[in-house]
Symmetry: C2
Subunit: 164 residues, 2 copies
């Protein structure tokens, strides 16, 4: 215990603040840079890309909406909105889940498959040049562990890092 007034917040120390400021800058600038690349080359934002990529990697190129929302890191309401837009563009369609008609699946269309196949190489190249090639191999493990800890702090249902 220290002598801090109980209503004082526990301010960040110099080391914490330096990391937080640099990380904040990454969180603001990197999604903007990746979105710009995707918009320029494919007319998609990053969330839309994650939705199409997630479907393309799934058996039958289909996923239950609630699963797709988790995979694309968004809420179900945000996903519904985006899925409607992607459906209007012909990249996917919605249909009742054959196992349980109360649920809805999103299914990638052939046009959606063509779109993601055309878009992925450019996006991976951007991710590689802005992130992957900038890091040393051991920094991937550090970044994974740090990311899992933050995800766990935001949502304890996300598996505890270091326990797997």
């Amino acid at each position: 215990m220290n002598a801090q007034h109980p209503s004082d917040p526990h301010w960040l120390n110099e080391r914490e603040l330096a990391a937080w400021k640099a990380f904040s800058a990454v969180m603001i600038k990197l999604p903007a840079a990746l979105d710009a690349q995707l918009q320029r080359e494919a007319g998609l934002n990053q969330f839309e890309y994650l939705v199409l990529a997630g479907l393309s990697e799934s058996p039958g190129r289909r996923l239950r909406m609630s699963t797709l929302a988790v995979l694309a890191n968004g809420s179900l309401s945000r996903l519904s909105h985006v899925v409607k837009r992607l459906e209007a563009r012909g990249y996917l369609r919605r249909e009742p889940c054959s196992d349980d008609g109360r649920y809805t699946n999103a299914v990638l269309t052939d046009d959606g498959w063509t779109k993601i196949v055309a878009t992925a190489p450019g996006h991976v190249t951007a991710v590689r040049s802005l992130v992957v090639d900038a890091l040393e191999p051991e920094q991937f493990d550090q970044l994974l562990e740090i990311s899992l800890r933050v995800l766990h702090a935001m949502d304890p249902d996300v598996g505890c890092p270091g326990s797997g």
Copy 2:
């Protein structure tokens, strides 16, 4: 050189992909969580918070607009938009730079100072609970180095990491 077809992208390996997927999730979810806290408690988004906080830490509580844009990690056009909104709410005002009237300064008002003093403790508490307290001390140094490398990859004008 490997035997990859020249038009094949250099896909991510398993280790790179695991780190990238977890980090992508953080980049999507953490700003949303912090924005939600700021909106709920202060009616500000994170960019607006960074603008007010940046001014509050500057001599005379004032900064040239171009400096403030760098500090808040935004473009000058985005900053101009946000500064107009904050000015309408009475938290800052714009005035010509006294050294060179071609430039504009943003100046924190007394209301803006009161606002940031009231807002900072809750925001720091959120940053601490979602990020700082989730990490081990050595992970701050890892996160700083990783962040600086990514920032440098996006903008080589940002000092080369590890060189300072």
